[in-house]
């Protein structure tokens, strides 16, 4: 029996039966902001097997997509749904396509369609099928059989409507060896920070943990196969080297659900990765960001990772009280969260974090504990305060629990739930409504994300623009602004909490807060732009050393 990998099966099957017809392209549509690695892997896999692939950002003008679909006459259009909130927009786009006479096969993949396939087919009537779980091989096989005019309903790993009910085919196993997949297609312009180019990549897929609010763990557990798969460290470094040398990428954003760090096996993986970064010399030329949990942070390994280019750590801290962490099934303690932040500060690593001020177990006491936790970790201005309310996504244990206990509200695009204490509901509404917490924390123009972006720039300056004068002074100024901004925000939460406890009406002035927010923003931009302008020549010389060489030879 020859050694045949799972990835080779569709090729062997199709070639053996003379099925593959790659004359028509495959069209993929999805959210492309920051690059979409999911679409990138689908594209490169299809191309590897001879298909031409057209990709479109679903936020592009619908007419542009409709025209592209009509002109290219694709075998199949694949829609990548990252978040369930977008489902109606996709439904709208598909209706436009159908109205324009595009009658090829429509399929959709992603976490929500995989786990809630019946709901997806109900919400999106134009869909022919849903590709469930990891889609590379399933989409390829769908394209093969549809392109050859064969029966597609036998393809494994899909759901479709049949005889008035939703039918699922046998599930397809998760990709066993990620290194057998081609590198994802990244045919888009990289985002930049201070002129340095950044691209996303993956070292692993899957998450071994069981947080109750997260559908990722359900996604990887529902499909057959190993839940967490890591690539070989040398292969990851090789991909980074290639992107650095061919496209000048110096910032890498690991999009792993949970970067491989936890437990002895993955700590060895991380140590191997660090060793590879050092031995190839890449550690001195590029920087990288990871997502991880607080319980994975430990001084020795993280210091070694810092020396190998790690510059930013995103942690899902999620709660600052034990009951909240228990309900969210984080399996960490408040003490571990605090310790992780301390370690990162001590070894000089910038951090960002996810935090849910409100969750289904929230009480006024727990919100106060969360506020005190935030004061403890970022009261010094090390990062700007960002928090939200936990949302019950489809496919999560906590959503099922809320549904069972009759507390689930809203719909798929606006999921919500009742708090157990009406005073918490009033407090939450005050924060999100009266105080306009969105404008402070959430949104493109909000204050906290811009402060955190300025911190991100500082970390990039430290690593990729060494020797800029006045860095410490600018850093202290930014810390001061962040500290003051956090204080105002914490003060708002505190006042609302006090009023809620005393049963007093909420009387914060929206206009006054907007004014404070604008003052902080103005101050931030003034300081930041002043610093960059003073050092502009140095920045540009380091960004473009070739210009200096050309000037010298001239």
């Amino acid at each position: 029996m020859p050694d045949v990998s799972l990835e080779q099966l569709p090729t062997i099957f199709s070639q053996a039966h003379g099925l593959r017809n790659t004359e028509r392209p495959v069209l993929l549509i999805g959210f492309q902001h920051q690059g979409n690695l999911g679409i990138g892997y689908l594209t490169s896999t299809l191309r590897q097997h001879g298909y031409s692939v057209l990709t479109y950002d679903f936020e592009a003008e619908p007419d542009l997509i409709v025209n592209a679909a009509k002109q290219s006459n694709p075998i199949i259009i694949g829609f990548s749904l990252i978040f369930q909130f977008y489902v109606r927009k996709f439904a709208f786009l598909m209706r436009r396509l159908r109205d324009a006479g595009v009658n090829c096969h429509f399929t959709m993949g992603g976490h929500f369609p995989s786990l809630s396939y019946a709901e997806t087919l109900r919400l999106v009537p134009e869909l022919d099928s849903v590709v469930r779980f990891e889609g590379e091989m399933t989409l390829l096989e769908l394209a093969d059989v549809i392109g050859a005019g064969k029966e597609w309903r036998d393809v494994h790993g899909i759901a479709y409507r049949g005889n008035g009910e939703v039918v699922t085919t046998p599930m397809r196993a998760l990709v066993d060896d990620l290194d057998k997949l081609p590198y994802p297609d990244r045919n888009f312009e990289p985002e930049t920070a201070l002129g340095r180019k950044a691209l996303p990549l993956l070292a692993s897929r899957g998450c071994a943990r069981t947080c109750s609010f997260c559908s990722i763990q359900t996604f990887y557990r529902a499909a057959p196969g190993k839940i967490v798969r890591t690539r070989k460290p040398s292969k990851v470094v090789e991909e980074m080297r290639m992107m650095h040398e061919e496209r000048g990428i110096t910032i890498f954003l690991f999009q792993d659900d949970d970067f491989p760090l936890f437990g002895p096996v993955w700590r060895r993986w991380a140590a191997d990765f660090v060793e590879n970064m050092q031995s190839t010399g890449l550690a001195q030329r590029v920087i990288w960001k990871i997502n991880c949990r607080a319980d994975a942070v430990e001084p020795q390994l993280f210091a070694a990772m810092r020396d190998a280019g790690l510059y930013l750590v995103y942690m899902g801290l999620e709660s600052g009280n034990e009951e909240g962490l228990k309900v969210l099934h984080k399996q960490v303690t408040v003490e571990q969260n605090i310790r992780a932040v301390q370690i990162l500060k001590e070894i000089g690593l910038l951090f960002e974090f996810g935090f849910m001020m409100f969750d289904p177990s929230s009480t006024l006491e727990s919100v106060r504990a969360n506020l005190n936790f935030l004061r403890q970790i970022i009261g010094d201005g090390a990062a700007a305060a960002v928090f939200c309310r936990m949302l019950p996504y489809d496919g999560t244990p906590i959503k099922d629990d809320l549904e069972r206990t009759g507390r689930l509200r809203g719909d798929v695009c606006n999921p919500s739930y009742d708090f157990l204490d009406s005073r918490v509901t009033a407090l939450y509404e005050s924060l999100s409504g009266i105080v306009d917490v969105w404008g402070w924390i959430h949104g493109y123009r909000a204050l906290s994300p811009q402060l955190n972006w300025a911190w991100n720039e500082i970390a990039i300056m430290n690593r990729l623009f060494p020797g800029i004068s006045g860095m410490e002074e600018y850093k202290n100024t930014l810390r001061f602004i962040t500290q003051k901004s956090n204080e105002v925000l914490f003060g708002i939460v505190q006042d609302l909490l006090d009023n809620a406890e005393k049963g007093l009406p909420q009387n914060s002035s929206h206009a006054k807060l907007d004014q404070r927010k604008q003052q902080f923003l103005d101050e931030l931009l003034l300081e930041r732009n002043g610093f960059v302008e003073r050092n502009q020549d140095l920045f540009l010389n380091m960004l473009h050393p070739e210009r200096i060489r050309e000037a010298a030879t001239a």
Binding site: I82, K89, F92, G195, L391, Q450, N529, V532, E533
Partner: protein, 69 residues
């Protein structure tokens, strides 16, 4: 106003915050507007087709009268 090279301009954070409800709210509003627009467009097309149909019937009736049938 400081003069800063375009490469060094401070721009909004570009990596995506999945919890950023404002994006979703804007998207939802856009979708709702588009649904209303397409609905009006469809209604206009239906009326146009109906008007054309009525005109054709009118012409046919007029033609029939002229030919004395």
């Amino acid at each position: 106003m400081p003069h800063i090279d375009p490469e060094l301009i401070f721009h909004r954070k570009w990596w995506w915050d999945p919890i950023d409800m404002e994006i979703f709210k804007e998207l939802e509003q856009t979708v709702q507007r588009q649904v209303v627009a397409i609905s009006l467009e469809t209604q206009a097309q239906i009326l146009k087709v109906q008007a054309e149909g009525v005109a054709r019937i009118g012409n046919a009736v007029a033609g029939a009268k002229q030919s004395g049938r």
